[in-house]
Amino acid sequence: MKVNLGILASRIRVEEKLLIKEAEERREINLTLVDPRKLIWDRSQLSELDVLLDREISQSRAYHVMELLSGSSVNLVNDFRTVQLCGDKAFTSVKLKKYGIPIPDFRVAFDRNSALRAVEELGYPVVLKPVDGSWGRMVAKITNREAAEATIEHKSNLDSRFHSIYYLQEYIETNNKDIRAFVVGNDVIGAAYRESDHWITNAARGGESKPYPLTDRLERIVTETSGIFGGAALAVDLLESDRGLLINEINCSMEFKESMKVIDGDIPERLLDYTIQQAQVSEEVARNQCPA
């Protein structure tokens, strides 16, 4: 039986193209590309899908489409709760801390004066991040009180509602590198270092991928994290510290163009396998609940 797979994406980048090619080569898949810019919400429009893979670049659009489909017959990779948790660094950190996953120390403040007090609590240097940002955008390393006052004042004058939330994180010295690991359910596909001349190591900012051999400790922390987030398909960013590996951020619509150059595992293939599996698991549950 064929699986009706939708890929939600308004922008076809290298990653989406690889996923589309992989899906088109598989006989068991009927592929529909869903461009959210063209969508006028009507649940019946997507009800023909068995599963929808979120590859949407706009987090606002992704949130809404996934939430509108929550509870429908369409399986979601990842589900709305995971998208919501990963899309907000404060939610991510609180969730990880609750389950005892090692993370950098952090504070969330809701006012500029409280933010300044939180900075002083964490000590310098400290990192100020937008709760909803990506690609190292508007991330600041603050090294002293004067810089903290100026950065927080500037941020308090920005328009987006998310800038009224101050997410502050302990700065971890990593010699300008972090680790990105890819996990689908309980399986870690692979991991790569991202190295840069800058302390911000995002690939979007020029971070270069280098091989990182999988270790038991990395696999353990990453699969545990995936489990906490519902056994999802995730890119998990980690920092090496004198306290061991720390989870820094989690991405639920993983970018892998650069990392796949140094990872043996086939990320598009494994992500698609996982997505199809989600549709089939749900089908099986439905069959068991409604015997013929």
Binding site: S58, S60, G133, W135, M254
Partner: protein, 54 residues
Amino acid sequence: MVNCPECETEIDLPEDTIQNEILDCPTCGLELEVVDLNPAEVDLAPEEEEDWGE
């Protein structure tokens, strides 16, 4: 064959081009979006927005 809307360079789209695909103009380097395939048409790709990411 399409023309870059910025510098008018002629661009040959590969056969496996997909609707909404992003490509760089080989001359001016601007990001272009394939907005139609039949007939082929490109436009300037939308600029990065604050909520973009992964």
